[in-house]
């Protein structure tokens, strides 16, 4: 699995992501500046978290217009893998690679805390090391993670099995109390129609080492590395 991480100015979780990818895959990912135009023969492109271009416009809107994004679109179109986390998820929606949008958190405050994610299907390239319906811990760190799409889109995502993760209790119950950013239908992550592009708000890459409080995120990177 050859992985690359795209760097937009203002991205700040690229090192966390590189550690997680190398930890599972054994190879340092390639770092790709946003003004580059060629992804080469990468199997996986990752867009990490941060504040691309300061998020001074809509989150991810500027990054979606960067030169590298044409190559990311082509990469996705040929059926290769893309993972966008946090700002990366926002950029994927702004680029039209995933439907919907991420709005301000319902509380209108930045949320930095652990959450539990329920695995909605365990048979995609990202989730084979989890069980369907299990929960795992991930780190929320965002101001704009409130997933929004119109009802028709949400119905379609659910009908096509494209909801990747939902915010849940530790035991897997869905409730407004644990859907802290107010996401539609508690959605924390979604897939493209071919299930090869995943966007998610919480950070699995910050829980891959027991010293950092747990390894709940590691199965996701192990699964990708084995694909």
């Amino acid at each position: 699995m050859k992985a690359g991480i795209i760097l937009f100015p203002g991205i700040n979780r690229e090192r966390d992501m590189a550690i997680a990818l190398e930890n599972s895959g054994g190879v340092k990912p390639r770092m790709i500046w946003h003004k580059e135009t060629d992804l080469g023969d990468l199997d996986l492109v990752v867009i990490p978290g941060g504040f691309s271009f300061g998020d001074y416009l809509r989150c991810g809107a500027m990054a979606a217009q960067s030169p590298i994004m044409a190559a990311v679109r082509a990469h996705a179109a040929r059926g290769a893998y893309v993972l966008g986390v946090c700002n990366g998820f926002q950029i994927l929606t702004e680029a039209g690679l995933l439907p919907g949008a991420l709005l301000r958190n319902a509380s209108l405050r930045f949320l930095s805390m652990d959450c539990h994610l329920r695995v909605e299907r365990a048979n995609t390239v990202f989730t084979t090391r989890y069980q369907q319906g299990q929960t795992f811990r991930a780190v929320m760190a965002h101001g704009d993670g409130n997933y929004f799409a119109d009802d028709a889109t949400l119905d379609r995502l659910e009908g096509e099995g494209r909801v990747a993760f939902r915010y849940a209790t530790a035991t897997g119950e869905i409730s407004p109390e644990v859907n802290l950013n107010g996401s539609a239908r508690s959605i924390a992550g979604i897939y493209s129609d071919n299930l090869r592009v995943l966007g998610m708000m919480p950070h699995p890459e910050d829980l891959v080492d027991p010293l950092m409080g747990g390894i709940d995120g590691k199965p996701l990177f192990d699964a990708i590395a084995a694909a």
């Binding site: 100015p9 504040f51 998020d55 930095s112 760190a141 950070h203």
Partner: protein, 731 residues
């Protein structure tokens, strides 16, 4: 700005008649407006430390592991593996009162620049915050703005905010304190200093463009507030964390090369202080051509360019042959890069603008003849020692504990932490609230850095010397409680008007106490900041010498937190006398804010801490928490709330009243949870360390010696209530 330069204008710029006379003597003529501006900011309290320098010299600043002490942009200590930790704490009090969000945000930005300008990648931010009474109508807006500002800046630049402290007291109603600390890591052979060298070398400006914001911010920070403070809002700078992030990456990329001769951030007094200090320290001269400075607006005068405090700017002296390579790096990051001058051998700073020389000042007298005052001091009366036997307990242990864990000074700070990204970087081993000190691991190594901020202002107000001692000791204790080896501190001295003898008396006494503690604990001061004139309409703050402590762990897997595991004995280390003076029990339950604060026995502090650290590193301790605000029972409740595991508490020694034993605030104490308490107590006895088993963990309740029982769930609920309820309240 066509005003005549005279003594009247000098006074408006904050210079006294004597200081202005000195300016005239140095210049041998009437200075230009730009020159007067340069003198006034360089000689402001904020930049010159003119009232505090004589006292700061008394602080110990040396140890074998200190690489650079005070005098550089930040302190530098050896942490092993050829690496250095670079750190400093700095205040942004005045701006945060006028405009809380931007004041706090630019405070974070400024301290980050002090650290990465020396070649360090910032790995952690902390803060120390003091706010007015929660009942005061302005406090909530200030807390909200400050927290949003710290988060807004720190989260965006991608440096985790891992720790801090918060107090409320009416003395801060008109003058909140926002002290921000940054810790960075650099290779010891790649540390960058600010002394300019090499006549003819280019002086390069990088970062944001210069605008008219923050003009005379340093002067504002050197005066008391009156009723007109609102009108000072234009002197507050506006932060741009995105540009700061680019500046960090571009500077660190350039620092991988040999291009930089000297570098300094443009902080308070902007282009003036950076150019004057760089050239002055290097013993060279400097010529600046302001027509080359990237400007955000048109029509700016030389005075405005030199005094602007626009953020996210750096000044560098480069090797001339590396200029092209350096320019390419900054252009890649979409940052301005401009050669705005060069070094000379004249020993003068010469400012050119639109074909005219706007300033021409000899640098040596500007630095050497800066005012230095030994202001008169008067010692404040100290609080009387309180006999605990004469303080009646009217509420009992259970009710008192419930009240204390819910009070604003002790309640959960989760509402604040939850707005700060504490995990970015992927190395945060102990997050806020998990341990007495935050721990951030170094990528690829076992080694980690422990950090804390501490001060107990109510102790300082009652006895500034004991309070200064206690602030340093508590920082040392918090680092020890996670298993770290304490290395050094940064201090942020927040006081009132130094022209009042009682304020200078507090300052001198606090320094005395701090110096004694630094000496006894081998815990030198390596950087710091002084913020005076923290007064509004004549009312001063509590003396607040905030301490930022830094320690190292050779192996972070040996660190312990405060979460209490089940089925362990809890042993109290240190002497308990039942000291109620200035305790939170006395204030929150007894309704009295008086008495002498608990004294710190520095020999016992050292011995107890060295014992606890050795036990942690030997693997004999599963959880540890220092005993501070609220005493033993509050410390135990905090350990229980952190894990959800309860405890059964033993009876206390009969010679001390129960409420004094359990809630007194004697210093130098720890609670340790251990699987083999007899062995630990034997080891303590052998070392002459007081150790007493006080509880056994397990279950879901805290069972108190008076028979009362509180569920951990109820404690957590009480502990968590204050901030969300207060913030959601009306108005």
């Amino acid at each position: 700005m066509g005003r005549d330069v005279n003594q009247q204008l000098a006074r408006e710029f904050g210079l006294t008649a004597d200081e202005y006379a000195k300016v005239l003597e140095i210049m041998g003529r009437t200075p230009t407006l730009t020159e007067l501006g340069i003198f006034s900011v360089m000689w402001s309290e904020h930049c010159s430390y003119k009232s505090s320098r004589v006292w700061l010299r008394q602080l110990p600043t040396k140890a074998p592991w200190v690489i650079h002490g005070p005098g550089e942009n930040a302190g530098v200590v050896d942490i092993g593996d050829g690496l250095a930790a670079i750190f400093k704490m700095e205040s942004h009090n005045h701006p945060s009162f006028i405009e809380p969000y931007q004041g706090a945000a630019t405070g974070v930005g400024g301290i980050l620049r002090d650290v990465f300008t020396m070649g360090a990648r910032p790995i952690a931010n902390l803060n120390a915050l003091r706010f007015g009474s929660p009942d005061h109508p302005r406090t909530r807006r200030i807390v909200d703005g400050v927290v949003r500002g710290i988060g807004g800046y720190g989260n965006c630049v991608g440096v985790p905010t891992v720790g801090g402290e918060v107090n409320f007291h009416p003395a801060y109603n008109g003058n909140p304190l926002v002290n921000a600390m940054t810790v960075g890591i650099a290779r010891q052979d790649r540390i960058f200093l600010s002394a300019a060298a090499g006549v003819g070398n280019p002086v390069v400006y990088v970062g944001s463009k210069t605008g008219r914001d923050g003009i005379h911010g340093a002067t504002m920070a050197s005066a008391e507030f009156g009723a007109d403070s609102e009108e000072k809002r234009p002197t507050v700078q506006v932060g741009d964390p995105f540009t700061e992030k680019l500046l960090i990456e571009a500077c660190l990329e350039l620092m991988e090369t040999d291009a930089i001769v000297a570098i300094q951030d443009m902080g308070a007094a902007g282009l003036t202080s950076s150019s004057v200090e760089m050239a002055g320290k290097g013993g060279v001269g400097i010529v600046l051509d302001l027509d080359q400075v990237p400007a955000r607006e048109t029509g700016m005068t030389a005075y405005e360019f030199m005094l602007s405090e626009s953020q996210e700017r750096m000044l560098m002296v480069l090797r001339p042959e590396r200029e092209g390579m350096a320019r390419a790096i900054f252009e890649k990051w979409d940052l301005d890069f401009a050669v705005i001058g060069h070094l000379t051998d004249t020993g003068r700073i010469t400012i050119r603008h639109q074909g005219r020389v706007e300033a021409d000042i000899p640098l040596a007298p500007l630095a050497d003849e800066a005012p230095l005052y030994t202001r008169p001091t008067v010692e404040s009366p100290k609080g009387e020692k309180i006999n605990p036997a004469r303080i009646e307990d009217r509420v009992g242990l259970t009710a008192a504990l419930k009240t204390l864990v819910a009070c604003p000074d002790l309640c959960s700070r989760a509402w604040i932490w939850d707005q700060y990204d504490s995990t970015v970087g992927g190395q945060t081993t102990k997050r806020p609230g998990a341990a007495d000190a935050a721990i951030v691991k170094l990528d690829g190594l076992k080694r980690g850095i422990a950090m804390t901020t501490d001060c107990t202002p109510r102790y300082c107000a009652a006895d500034a010397e004991e309070g200064g001692k206690q602030a340093v000791a508590e920082a040392w204790r918090n680092l020890t409680a996670v298993g770290a080896r304490p290395l050094a501190i940064t201090d942020n001295m927040n006081f009132g008007n130094p022209e009042k003898p009682e304020i200078m008396g507090q300052f001198a006494a606090a320094i005395r106490g701090m110096a004694a503690a630094c000496e006894a604990l081998d815990f030198p001061v390596v950087s710091g900041n002084v913020s005076l004139y923290n007064e509004t309409e004549g009312k001063g703050i509590l003396p607040t010498p905030a301490i930022g402590g830094l320690g190292v762990l050779d192996d972070v897997s040996k660190a312990v937190g405060l979460a209490l595991p089940p089925w362990l004995d809890i042993v109290l280390i240190g002497v308990t006398t039942g000291w109620l003076g200035q305790s939170l029990w006395l204030r929150e339950i007894g309704g009295r804010e008086d008495g002498a604060p608990p004294p710190v026995n520095l020999q016992a502090e050292r011995a107890n801490g060295d014992f606890v650290r050795a036990q942690i590193l030997a693997g004999h301790v599963r959880a540890c928490h220092d005993v501070s605000d609220g005493g033993i029972l509050v410390a135990l409740a905090e350990m229980a709330m952190a894990s959800g595991v309860g405890a059964r508490v033993s009876t206390h020694p009969r010679d001390i009243p129960g409420h004094a034993f359990w809630f007194g605030e004697d210093q130098g104490r720890y609670l340790v949870a251990c699987p083999d308490s007899p062995a630990l107590i034997r080891a303590a006895d052998a070392a002459g360390i007081p150790a007493l088993r006080i509880a056994v963990s397990g279950g879901q309740d805290l069972t108190l010696p008076d028979g009362g029982t509180i569920s951990i769930a109820a404690l957590r609920e009480a502990h968590a209530r204050f901030f969300p309820a207060w913030m959601a309240g009306p108005g």
